[in-house]
Symmetry: D2
Subunit: 367 residues, 4 copies
């Protein structure tokens, strides 16, 4: 099941870059959840290209349709099938890709793996595939909001070498603060510099990457498993499953290596009547299991592979050649990845919530 | 199945820190694989404590026993059950843990999750759990070696703030170079400084963390799935499933954020008669699928949580108190994690090899 | 993943009786498989109601649409999403069901399980759900036909108390022989009596059940696992997962209980140059694994629960009441289940073929 | 994972007929469950050979050892590893099997599938493999007993052509009634005839099969999924996964085919203040989901394949030959299968209980 995510709240996405539609089937959704097209659409609109002058002007209408699993505004417990028809197919723009492998794209690896390749765009390794994730994530976020006031907020802390100062990131930013600029960095001065850097890259026919931080509050203790399915392991997998990601770190992350144990350990204290920690180098997870503190992590995105500058490559017959992307492309996809990161985090949390409940709450009062 | 790793080459570990034994069941092992106790034991010996004067003097004998699935020296295709009896149980040393939560350990989260806790040591979040992973990894590495000369080599590049210079890490190190020092850093001068830093931490009743790099060569193109089960996503999960890990990066990783697309993209070239790339910022994976280049990644380990200096904490009744680990503990677990990182990488690769074969080779000549 | 079937050739169906569409996502399809709408449609047409004067006159157009995973007539290895829009929605005909539980339907159990219920028709427990299975089965049968001339033929041997004589069932029937009558019994005289019995049931506002036999030839030895995932276990699950089924037997089945071991054992002989058996009480499976002989099994279907005669029941408030189905219903669904049985058998075989290949062929030449 | 059963309450058995030990790992066990060696041993003792003069005199000591997952008499939530050492290994008795395929055993299919075969006994297709199932089933039955007074009672209704009269089987038999005779048929007169038939078969060097009925009361409504994972589908799979089984039927089963819908439908009535049915042709499951009525099903077992009479077969080189089992063998394994049927039913129910809870109870009060 290479295209399925989750064990109990199961999400299967389908659809390619240039097919007639993309979609997702959510299996295992708790019944009676209020489900509305409008809420799902609101999340989809956040990931859509063409939202500002720093993203690709390609228009995607992305109207979601609910095909099953919802009756009179509520989930029935049956699979929820969501579909978005594609409106902006221009396969002719991709004729050159039939012959040439785009550098740092999946063209070559698809050909090697499958012996066949839909050369129009990135196939499954396409930003369009993430529509299904965001739609499913909208349901997951709804569940988390109703179940326990869990809030998930992702935002940019870095574009290329423009880094938001840590002291500007101390408070949990509001959605409005994140959405205030098209780069989704809650620090306005940094956001301005990021925008300038992205425009400069576009002008040069080039691209830049960035870092997204995700902060999650309200997660109860107990989510995650001690060994393979540690909460941070599943978050890492979720994030590295996104196109263009190259790294993940939780809590103190790579920088934590430079601390000593006596500095890094989070002392337990009594906090608002419950056991908490006075620092949070752990990032809200200890022994693979949430401890009730804020969960936070960073995800590194490489610069977009599609650039309009000419690049060296080889063609399908193995001859060396050159390639330059035509049309206009997104010089930095990271801002649009913010809702996708939030969606994936939500999917991980709901799945672990249900798993934890199954083993640990089902018979809790019985023995 | 919270304690199972892999979809086709499936590994289930069992056993706790202070139980009578730990073990692993490997299900789906290809039949006729030569399996010997000696080879498995050799890998186990590499992860064992008590190997040098920088590790814990706790003695673990760790003799592996093959209980099923092997007949006349070869795997039969049946589940392979491996067990290691525990010899060094000293539960009395842990009486204090019954009452007090150790900071940055899993004591508190276990109690919250399960409502019951084996207070002796870390339960499942114990280094002993990794015995099963290493034993299973020994089989996986054997498969990879026989199948295609895949070589997996992990080693330390950093301890605390001691960092091996990048130019000392250019060539693929031999096993002998890695094993030359107890810190498993192939650069002797750095290794010496790392050892000094670890001894210094121990003398201070403190601990330090580090970074492991893993390099893998010989992986054929085509392993990994385009969407959720991307090869780097499964490697990230595998690594973050190890105790004490806080970060993972593949290829250019977090540093790649500072490159432009034109710098980061890996141009395709013809290389020894096949399609290859002239740089390798991708880290051997493109679109989630191996491209035949070397795979390399870094894993960040926090400083060991167990320290002998007194720390603030709370007890099971919620009262604030102090705790200091007694006995002698490993001031830096990272060197011992080297064979575990290799084992987990091997498990990911064999599983993806089999998955790729099932979908893409089974009927290859038929249509 | 309650709506997913298969481990490697994974089939997820979605859609309810009276939703806007039903569909299926096939994940893990071997790439380059020729896929055509026409072939899938041909199988769908066989399961469609309104095909003859013994089935419901309800018209379902059932035009399948390929939404993903196919490029230039071949599977790409990506998920294949197939959808059939619903044309004949008459929810008003079901108003009474909002209040009353239909006997031997899933109305009551859905309400108990989910706390919410789409009262229009059977929800997921609807014949329409099987559209997705048949569509996926069409691909599976294509794979089997191309891979090894595997032929799957299901047909009726019994309707109510009308039983085809065993000596009329000795030879493997052709598709034409099965399709010759609307009851899909290859013995014409029996078929005639079955049709009469069905018409009689309809005239009485009643319904009848029946037995389907499925015969499969061309399956190579080695499919199936020795323990839980025995081939017959997965076939049993597949068949009992169909609406209205009450029993499954393979090979000698329940009648085999009356034989002694010396009568029941299938002696090995040399047959056309290979090892075979001279009898086949095993039904082509030994120790859970196919042995190369013909696989055959029977599936029992209860009489259709929907009848137009008045029946006692209770309403959603727990008051006793009466209910009679309105409109015209299928007095015997068994003939239409024939292509569904074939589809499910094909799904089981392809999945096991791929599983067997992954473990046992991937590294066959390597050790 | 060919040797794993269950999705949330996961059971992995390992070990072969003639290996040093057999065992099971139970993953996902609800924490705080009281677990005692004695209770598990009691169930194991019921499946052990050598219990009476109608079973094989082979002695198996079968002492279970708890290796992990239990602390101070309660499950911790960690994997529970149980092992039984083998005491009665006589591989020399099996030398002939190295050369000759035993008819209707798994020897030939193993060889074809794996290309290697442990010729001593049945490998994984051995009665010893079921030790792990029974041990895990003991935990599952404990959970069911504590959770809701669920009672599972299996017993023989037929041996060869000796059939217990239906009117002797009307009441739910007590454990004592079942265990009163070594054939585990609660009707004493029939039991006596069954014993005579088994002894007669043994005297003739032959074997006989039989039918086990399983009755389950106390299951709440709501267990099972509407489509693939219907409760009866998973029960069918569980039963057909047992060695020597050839058929499964639930509720009215194959005989139900001869009823009309008006006779077969189970009218809903108000029963002790809740909605129930006045008849139970459904066998306690409607639309794949338990409805609160008694669940009952039959399982057909073929005559034991091992007989001491000479049989025709071929050897590993494909030459025709003869074979007669030496030593003393069980002429009828069905009585010993009674606790195994109960164990498998318990595993299915606990797994579905947890699955149902995860999706349908976790957020029940939240929306």
């Amino acid at each position: 099941m290479p295209n399925v995510f989750g064990k109990l709240f199961t999400v299967s996405t389908w659809g390619e870059s240039h097919g007639p539609a993309v979609g997702v089937v959510i299996d295992g959704c708790p019944p009676r959840l209020p489900v509305s097209c409008e809420e799902i659409q609101a999340d989809l609109d956040r990931r859509r290209p063409g939202q500002s002058d720093i993203t690709t002007p390609r228009k995607e209408d992305d109207r979601v349709e609910i095909l099953s699993g919802v009756f009179e505004g509520r989930a029935t417990g049956a699979p929820i099938s969501l579909m978005v028809r594609s409106s902006d197919q221009r396969p002719s723009a991709y004729d050159e890709m039939r012959e040439k492998f785009r550098p740092s794209h999946a063209d070559f690896t698809y050909q090697e793996k499958y012996g066949i390749r839909d050369h129009r765009g990135g196939g499954r390794s396409s930003a369009r595939e993430t529509i299904g994730r965001v739609a499913a994530g909208a349901l997951a976020r709804k569940i988390l909001a109703l179940a326990g006031n869990v809030e998930i907020r992702a935002f940019l802390t870095q574009v290329h070498d423009i880094v938001a100062p840590e002291d500007s990131l101390v408070t949990f930013p509001s959605l409005a603060e994140v959405e205030a600029t098209p780069v989704r960095c809650p620090h306005p001065a940094t956001a301005e510099r990021m925008i300038a850097r992205i425009k400069e890259a576009r002008a040069a026919g080039d691209s830049v990457g960035g870092i997204i931080r995700c902060r999650i509050r309200g997660v109860p203790p107990g989510l995650g498993e001690p060994v393979f399915d540690r909460l941070e392991a599943d978050l890492a997998k979720a994030m590295l499953s996104l196109p263009a990601t190259k790294g993940f770190e939780i809590g103190s992350g790579f920088a934590g290596v430079r601390l000593r144990g006596s500095e890094h350990n989070d002392p337990f204290i009594v906090k608002e009547g419950r056991v908490g920690t006075s620092t949070n180098h752990s990032g809200g997870v200890q022994g693979g299991i949430s401890n009730g503190e804020e969960i936070y992590f960073n995800v590194a995105f490489k610069p977009t592979a599609t650039i309009t500058r000419a690049q060296k490559t080889v063609d399908v017959r193995g001859a060396e050649t050159e390639l330059a992307a035509r049309g206009r492309h997104d010089p930095c996809v990271v801002p649009r990845a913010v809702p996708i990161v939030e969606a994936m985090a939500a999917l991980v949390l709901v799945d672990h919530w249900m798993r934890n409940a199954a083993q640990n709450e089902t018979f809790r009062t019985k023995f």
